[in-house]
Amino acid sequence: MAWFSSPSDATTRLATAGYLADAATATTSFLAGALEKPLLVEGPAGVGKTELAKAVSRATGADLVRLQCYEGLDEARALYEWNYKKQLLRIQAATDGQAWEETHDDIFSEEFLLTRPLLTAIRRDAPTVLLIDEVDKTDVEVEGLLLEVLSDFQVTIPELGTVAATRRPFVVLTSNASRELSEAVKRRCLYLHLDYPDTEREKEIVTSQVPDLDDKVATQLVTAVARLRDLELKKAPSIAESVDWARTLLALHIDDLDAKAIDDTLGVVLKHSSDTERAVRELKLR
């Protein structure tokens, strides 16, 4: 199955799935499907990196398998594990007459294998989107583990042999760039940097997420957010925060986003006190 037939097809199908992709995102998603290469998505928090993977799975009708990365993630959590307790039971339940060879072969079989996300995604027959989230949070050793999976889509289990993918999953890796990934991982991936959208696209996104929002307020909101991003803030507001802000304004029945309204609701978008002070001063809110 081809994932998307062309970049424009990617745009339309992602849009139906509720994800408004710009040209670069659409082209890169198309290529990731067509070249069957993993897609590494980087960018600031809250611009829709994880959402892209979910949207691809919705748009193509594939199932999503997710591996959330964290410090200390190991092979047993990411790839596979032997069900040790069940193996013990099997040995204890074995009759005395049974030869050791037989038991040995028996306990290292499918029945005792616990598959974790990476192996699950590879073994599935149905189309799958594999999301490896926040890959920069893992230790360097896990990257080595990912290499075999990402380049050949196969996993070698010493007792069972090599399991190769029957159907290559659509792999999305996301990263906040809190650590540089190794060149080896990057080389195997297509790269996409998601950034804050321009005002028009952001307005589309906000209105699609919060359809009840008044058009005038939406325009005021995205201009205000764009101005906040121009200031040198510790954490610039992301799309997720714009949407939150829109919901807040709706809940408070604010139909004109003037200086006072911005000042009152600034806490929704800015999360550092120094950022708030700076915004109040630069935007002359008080």
């Binding site: 070249l35 410090e71 809190s178």
Partner: protein, 457 residues
């Protein structure tokens, strides 16, 4: 030149600009272009970006080189070629009347914020007002500078502000928008001039000259004002990345030697068999840092960046004290309150320079003397001394014995010099005299600075 030649030349230029483009990425790009096709320029651009650029900091370099190797159009473009021969004058008109008419048209386009039209006008402007005719073929050139001077961008900005205000914008809003639009038009003109020159002289030559290093490899001393802003934006993410990396490395060497007492105690529950080995945790060592920075003239930027980075990482240090000097010493530790705004801190630091100067001429010897006199308690056996400066002391007394005493009383001492190593000891630089007392490290860009800060922690 075939398409493949152009592709390979483009990759060569990317590699020359310091981007690690491997053969496998090259093959990926070709395979991807086979799928996407060469029909749309933007798609070709995105495809190359997805397959070749794996780091956002390299994106600007990539974009510039793409513009040079795959220009938007050739010469005057398709529109001009479509017109019949002879209907256009051989030399485009660039008299005062034409200039006025053109400015009028440009002002309209700017007010309407019509990007496509602006791009066309940028190209037309360079063609009409920026040509520098040469004596022979291949000698003529194009100048963005001449073009912009003839168009007088300041007047355009004022006019645009007026126009926008009439459209009901507030003054402040109009000013900001106008500056932004005119700025982007200027960039278009510059890009178009580059394109034309590249066409004339071949892209390889232009690629070598015009492309600037990426922000993390840019010399502090050659940074322009826009670069300084970009650098400042980099500091906070950089500190966060560095802190993550340090924590991870610390965790990896967290386990210390065996703790016999606790191991024996734990073994009691197993009938005396020490199944669980207890290790003594490693106490993290926290450096107390004393930073002395030269804030005179050109090295001031370097000093403030280093200070910002050090203070952004303050949790990693036990205690940080910072002093600035020109020919007198001034303590600036209090300027860095936790969680304070970076831009404000920078401004206050710049204002405080006057406190660190008595006669205004850099004098390292005097500054060291004053430091020992005024802050005798700053350096102790637990603290490390970090000196920032180019060691150019206007041929004054170097006070080497004072510095030697300071280095001896501290646990460690380093000197960061923002100048390239080949410039040390030229003119009034006393780099090697000081380097004999305190180990001196070359630190010209963010990458080198990050590595250094990582190593001392």
């Amino acid at each position: 030149m075939t398409l493949l030649d152009r592709h390979i030349a483009f990759l060569e230029a990317l590699r020359a600009a310091g981007m690690p483009v491997s053969l496998s990425e090259d093959l990926d790009a070709v395979a991807a272009l086979g799928l996407v096709g060469w029909g749309q320029r933007q798609q070709v651009h995105d495809t190359y970006a997805a397959t070749l650029v794996k780091r956002q900091s390299q994106r600007e370099t990539f974009d510039e080189l793409f513009e040079i190797y795959f220009p938007r159009m050739v010469g005057e473009g398709f529109a001009a070629a479509a017109e019949p021969e002879g209907s256009r004058p051989a030399r485009p008109a660039d008299g005062p009347a034409d200039l006025a008419a053109f400015t009028e048209e440009l002002a309209d386009a700017l007010e309407a914020d019509d990007l496509e039209r602006l791009r066309q006008l940028a190209s037309e402007a360079v063609g009409r007002f920026g040509s520098m005719p040469g004596r022979g073929p291949g000698m003529s050139s194009w100048s963005a500078y001449t073009t912009l001077r003839r168009l007088s961008t300041d007047e355009l900005t004022l006019k645009l502000i007026e126009g926008l205000r009439r459209g009901g914008w507030t003054e402040e809003q109009a000013g900001r928008t106008a500056a932004k639009r005119v700025g982007s038009y200027q960039q278009m003109v510059e890009a178009d001039a580059r394109r034309r020159i590249a066409e004339e002289k071949g892209p390889d030559q232009i690629a070598r000259i015009t492309v600037r290093p990426t922000i993390d490899r840019l010399d502090f001393l050659s940074a322009r004002r826009a670069d300084l802003e970009a650098l400042r934006r980099e500091i906070y993410p950089l500190a966060r990345r560095l802190a993550t990396r340090l924590t991870q490395e610390k965790h990896a060497r967290r386990r210390g030697p065996i703790d016999m007492r606790r191991t024996v105690r734990a073994s009691i529950s197993n009938g005396g068999v020490p199944l669980d080995v207890r290790l003594r945790p490693k106490r993290p060592h926290r450096t107390e840092l004393v930073v002395l920075c030269d804030v005179s003239g050109s090295v001031a930027n370097f000093a403030s960046f280093t200070l910002m980075l050090v203070f952004a990482l303050r949790e990693q240090f036990g205690k940080v004290r910072a002093f600035t000097f020109v020919d007198d010493v001034h303590e600036v530790t209090d300027y860095f309150t936790p969680g304070s705004d970076m831009v404000d801190t920078m401004t206050r630091l710049a204002d405080a320079t006057s406190h660190a100067a008595r006669f205004g001429r850099t004098n390292y010897g005097r500054a060291f003397g004053r430091f020992v006199e005024e802050h005798p308690d700053a350096l102790g056996p637990k603290s490390s001394l970090l000196i920032l400066g180019d060691a150019r002391s206007n041929y004054s007394d170097l006070s080497l014995p004072t510095l030697r005493r300071m280095a001896a009383s501290a646990r460690h001492a380093w000197w960061l010099n923002p100048e390239a190593r080949r410039n040390w000891d030229t003119g009034d630089s006393a780099a090697s005299d000081y380097a004999a007392v305190v180990p001196m490290v070359e630190c010209r860009n963010l990458t080198q600075l990050t590595e250094f800060v990582h190593d001392i922690l």
